[in-house]
């Protein structure tokens, strides 16, 4: 037990400020928090759906929850049910086998709702595109509000993409 406490003490706090924004803007994390405070009563709930990814995008989505990025500090959290969600974050091309599941998840999210297509697959079809088994980009199946490109987008790009959409909407 002491060894664990000792390790925790030595590890210290890891959470970092977001890297400086490209635009001459205030620190984006703080701005995001303000947007969420104003539009979402301080809490933005995200439901993710993998509609046909290679699982690379999921790995980076996990990473934004690690102590370095700690996305929860801005009031953003991932939820288990679409009925609790404000935002749908979709990865991958939409495989035909997931087409209905994605539509049903989208329908289950209460209005008003936002949709982000994360990664090149979700954004434009990426390496897989359209085929007998794939509908290609997410926008071919449900309305999309923002695309975060990258294969996969880094945790930083993912955060920034969410922030940009919040500022716009």
């Amino acid at each position: 037990m002491f060894r664990i406490f000792n390790r925790i003490r030595r590890t210290g706090q890891l959470t970092e400020p977001l890297p400086a924004a490209e635009q001459p803007a205030a620190e984006p994390g703080a701005r995001c928090q303000q947007e969420i405070a104003r539009k979402f009563s301080h809490s933005l709930a995200i439901r993710m759906v993998d509609a046909g990814s290679c699982n690379g995008c999921e790995l980076e989505m996990h990473a934004v929850n690690n102590s370095f990025y700690d996305i929860e500090r801005f009031g953003i959290h991932f939820v288990a049910s679409p009925r609790h969600a404000d935002l749908l974050l979709v990865t991958g091309v939409v495989s035909r086998h997931m087409e209905e599941a994605l539509q049903r998840t989208y329908a289950a999210i209460p209005n008003p709702k936002l949709v982000i297509a994360m990664g090149d697959c979700a954004g434009c079809g990426g390496e897989f595109g359209v085929s007998y088994a794939s509908c290609g980009a997410v926008a071919n199946v449900i309305p999309v509000d923002a695309v975060i490109s990258g294969c996969p987008p880094t945790p930083e790009q993912l955060l920034r993409g969410i922030l940009e959409l919040l500022q716009r909407s």
């Binding site: 087409e99 599941a101 897989f128």
Partner: protein, 533 residues
């Protein structure tokens, strides 16, 4: 590490089986392709019988795939023995594609054979399960997407409905109830369906229904050049990008008789070990987190993040995608970068040596992990599961040691293995494999040979084929490639180790309580994408 136990590798020998089959007239020996010990041509009627004999002699089943070369469909299977890999070949007529099944002797062949039916229309006599597998509702029962005449974009333009009619066996009995889960799960995870049949808290039976992320990888590979194929291979399963692209490139290089430089091969191995380490770190944290031990999750995700940042800084991609290219690699290391990596490696080694005992000795964590989700050594052998799952259940096979390819042929690979086969031992094997991989990385960095990063892969001028076999972090990974005269892909088949690990998840869940499903699943961690293709 082995506690004085005697450990298994697959006992059968390929050459012995091959000689016996040839003597009995059951098979005809062909010139083995590079990387294989033997290659046999079989009559379709002997397909099942040969599997029966191979199983009796203790060979492990590895893969089966088809290739439509009108008017025939050629079928190939790979088996593994302690002396290496055996390729079996046969062909059936496209009008009457019938073959005897290998599933009665090798349960691992069951789903791949069902897939051969879905994709090529091959019928297996004696198969225990006649249900579809990868096919849901995106194409008709009488259409076979991997046949040459099936259009790449399919025959339907209407929306595809969900697959609610998949025939799960019904349960009956007092107090038995069903829990359907998925395809969309509660967490950040890939989609798939699990059907639980439970009494009270206890799982009587769990059945998987996969194929939700089937996106037609094999079909869209057709016609690609080698660079395009390698990019696609690196996305068969994003967490195994290095291993899949290495397997595909190895297959291509063997087909084209091209040998990358020893520097390029050493760099590939460094990338592959780094991929193994990153995944083991992430999953070790996640396994502990699934039983509420957040300390491990915080520590391991910290180490993983630092590791990935170094990937970006020194190799140019956090997940190391697109670093392996046909003929070599596209990244190099300066002496200064080498010492940076060595220092980071030492640092991680110290961290793991400190953290691993904490996890392995912490009573309330071990109480949850020990005897949970047990896969017996007999079942591991029966299903021929590879990687950490096999090793935690005493099946040690590791291609880096047992069928070594360059540069592992000049390295000593230590393979941790245990008998208990529970979640605790799968966690332990992965922790110890991190240490082994770190030692390998340090050794490779220390002796990084000179050489070109990339050699040319000139078009062969005729049709060629090759097989790649790589030890990915999940286990044995296979890629088959057939190229035309211009090096364009005629057929690409990647076999992710998840094909071998998904079936054992069903086995090790028997009598486990429903709340322990997440931790058992995480300890197996099959790739949905790598399986569904």
């Amino acid at each position: 590490m082995n506690g004085g136990q005697e450990f298994n590798v697959t006992p059968g020998r390929v050459l012995q089986l091959a000689a016996g089959l040839a003597a009995d007239g059951l098979a005809e020996a062909l010139e083995p392709s590079p990387g294989l010990v033997a290659r046999l041509s079989l009559q379709p009627g002997n397909w099942g019988r040969v599997a029966e004999l191979a199983a009796q002699q203790g060979l492990r089943w590895s893969a089966v795939w088809g290739d439509h070369c009108p008017p025939q469909i050629s079928i190939r299977a790979v088996l593994f023995g302690s002396d290496g890999h055996l390729l079996l070949e046969t062909a059936v007529d496209e009008q009457r594609p019938e073959l005897t099944s290998q599933s009665p002797f090798y349960p691992a062949a069951e789903r791949p054979e069902r897939t051969l039916h879905d994709m090529f229309g091959v019928q297996f006599s004696g198969h225990p399960d006649d249900r579809r597998w990868l096919r849901h509702q995106a194409w008709d029962e009488n259409d076979f997407p991997l046949r040459r005449d099936f259009p790449r974009n399919g025959k339907r333009s209407t929306a595809t409905t969900g697959d609610s009619s998949y025939p799960f066996p019904a349960v009956a009995g007092e107090g038995v109830y069903e829990i359907p889960v998925g395809p969309v799960h509660a967490g950040i995870i890939e989609p798939g369906h699990f059907r639980f049949q439970a009494v009270g808290e206890t799982i009587l039976r769990m059945e998987e229904h996969l194929g939700y992320v089937h996106k037609g990888i094999e079909k869209i590979a057709e016609g690609r050049d080698l660079a395009g194929l390698t990019r696609l291979a690196g996305r068969v399963s994003g967490d195994s990008s290095v291993a899949h692209s290495w397997a595909a490139c190895q297959a291509a290089e063997r087909a084209l008789q091209v040998e990358p430089s020893s520097r390029a091969l050493a760099l590939r191995a460094i990338l592959a070990e780094r991929e193994r380490i990153a995944n083991h770190l992430g999953d070790m944290g996640a396994i502990c987190n699934d039983v509420g031990f957040a300390f491990a999750q915080v520590q391991m995700s910290r180490l993983r993040e630092l590791w990935q940042r170094q990937n970006l800084e020194l190799f140019g991609h956090r997940l190391l995608m697109d670093r392996v290219v046909p003929g070599g690699v596209c990244c190099d290391l300066t002496p200064q970068q080498i010492s940076t990596l060595q220092r980071a490696g030492d640092c991680l080694h110290r961290d793991i040596e400190e953290l691993l005992p904490l996890l392995l000795e912490y009573p309330s964590l071990q109480d949850r992990l020990r005897t949970t989700g047990v896969l017996s050594p007999e079942d591991a052998r029966r299903f021929g599961v590879t990687g950490y799952i096999g090793r935690a259940s005493n099946l040690q096979d590791d291609l880096r040691r047992d069928a070594p390819y360059a540069p592992y042929d000049r390295l000593q690979v230590r393979v941790p293995a245990y008998l208990e086969g529970d979640v605790a031992k799968r966690l332990r094997v992965r922790g110890e494999e991190v240490l082994v991989s770190l030692e390998l990385q340090q050794q490779l960095l220390h002796e990084l040979p000179p050489g070109a990063l990339r050699v040319a892969c000139p078009p062969p001028g005729r049709e060629v084929e090759g097989i790649g076999l790589i030890e990915g972090w999940r286990g044995e990974m296979l890629a088959y490639l057939r190229l035309d005269a211009e090096s364009r892909v005629l057929r690409y088949f990647p076999r992710d180790p998840s094909w071998l690990s998904w079936p054992v998840l069903e086995v090790l869940l028997k009598n486990v309580i429903v709340p322990d499903f997440p931790v058992c699943n995480k300890s197996v961690n099959g790739s949905y994408s790598g399986h569904d293709l």
